[in-house]
């Protein structure tokens, strides 16, 4: 029963921060809300008995992908307006709502850990990382290799797209 209430609270936080994220005008504010939504999804994964997926969600999504977004947003914001925008970021109205939503999530996780009730359901069963690893490297080994090829292609593509000389050549053509 408690797990159900925790699930609804986490689901509410997910939806609220997702809606707030896509309606922001400032990209960095939207990213703050996105982090809260991703953490709430990690809580839901935990409640569903997938602790490994919850950890991966935090490490890869909230830790790596959002930071990548943030780097690009910071790179593109270089200008006179960025200082004023940075100052506006620190006013109270902007950080209170994400902080409140994150505090709700924190309370949910603490409650779930203290009560220890999250796996008392009739069919609830923690799916251990060991099982996932065994399935990943026996049944899905081809998919793992395909994912590796995909990541290599993305690495080469991102390196090529991020290079500066593509622009320089275009400027040379325009000037000549």
């Amino acid at each position: 029963m408690t797990a159900l209430i925790l699930f609804y609270v986490a689901g509410f936080v997910t939806l609220a921060s997702a809606i707030l994220a896509i309606t922001r005008t400032n990209a960095s504010h939207a990213l703050i809300y996105m982090v809260v939504a991703l953490l709430a999804i990690a809580v839901i994964f935990f409640l569903l008995g997938s602790p490994f997926a919850a950890a991966l969600q935090i490490v890869v999504y909230a830790g790596a992908i959002v930071v990548l977004f943030l780097f690009v947003v910071m790179m593109l914001n270089l200008g006179k307006s960025s200082v004023a925008r940075e100052r506006a970021l620190l006013t109270r109205g902007i950080w209170t709502v994400p902080t409140l939503l994150a505090l709700v999530l924190f309370a949910v996780v603490v409650f779930a850990l203290v009560s220890g009730d999250h796996e008392s359901g009739a069919q609830a069963r923690m799916i251990e990382p060991k099982e996932v690893g065994i399935a990943l490297y026996t049944k899905y080994v081809l998919a793992v290799e395909l994912a590796g090829v995909l990541l290599l292609a993305a690495l080469v593509g991102a390196y090529h797209l991020g290079r500066r000389y593509l622009l320089d050549r275009r400027e040379e053509e325009e000037s000549s």
Partner: protein, 100 residues
């Protein structure tokens, strides 16, 4: 454990929020952000199905979605940087050069 139907409804709602974001917003950063939400909704549906049957396959699919999302974001943000350098804007409607 929360009932599978409720988790699937939540995943559907999250997917719809992402889809609305893709359709409504014209800033490419927000479109990519909404795409991430849609992928997360799919991942949540996979995890819910895996938990329902007590099998690790759902989490394996989640990891593959994670790999796809990471590579998508890397390439897409490279495109965003090129777009900002060449067109000095992040508006996707003003980059429809292929049509002309």
């Amino acid at each position: 454990m929360p009932p599978t139907e409720h988790v699937l409804v939540l995943a559907l709602m999250l997917f719809c929020v992402g889809a609305v974001g893709v359709l409504v917003r014209r800033n490419i950063i927000f479109i990519l952000l909404s795409l991430e939400f849609m992928m997360n909704a799919c991942a949540m549906a996979f995890i819910a199905a895996g938990a329902k049957w007590g099998q690790p396959d759902g989490q394996v699919m989640f990891m593959l979605i994670l790999a796809i999302a990471a590579s998508e974001v890397a390439v897409a943000l490279g495109i965003v940087i090129q777009m900002a350098r060449r067109f000095r804007t992040l508006d996707v409607d003003s980059v429809s050069e292929l049509r002309e």
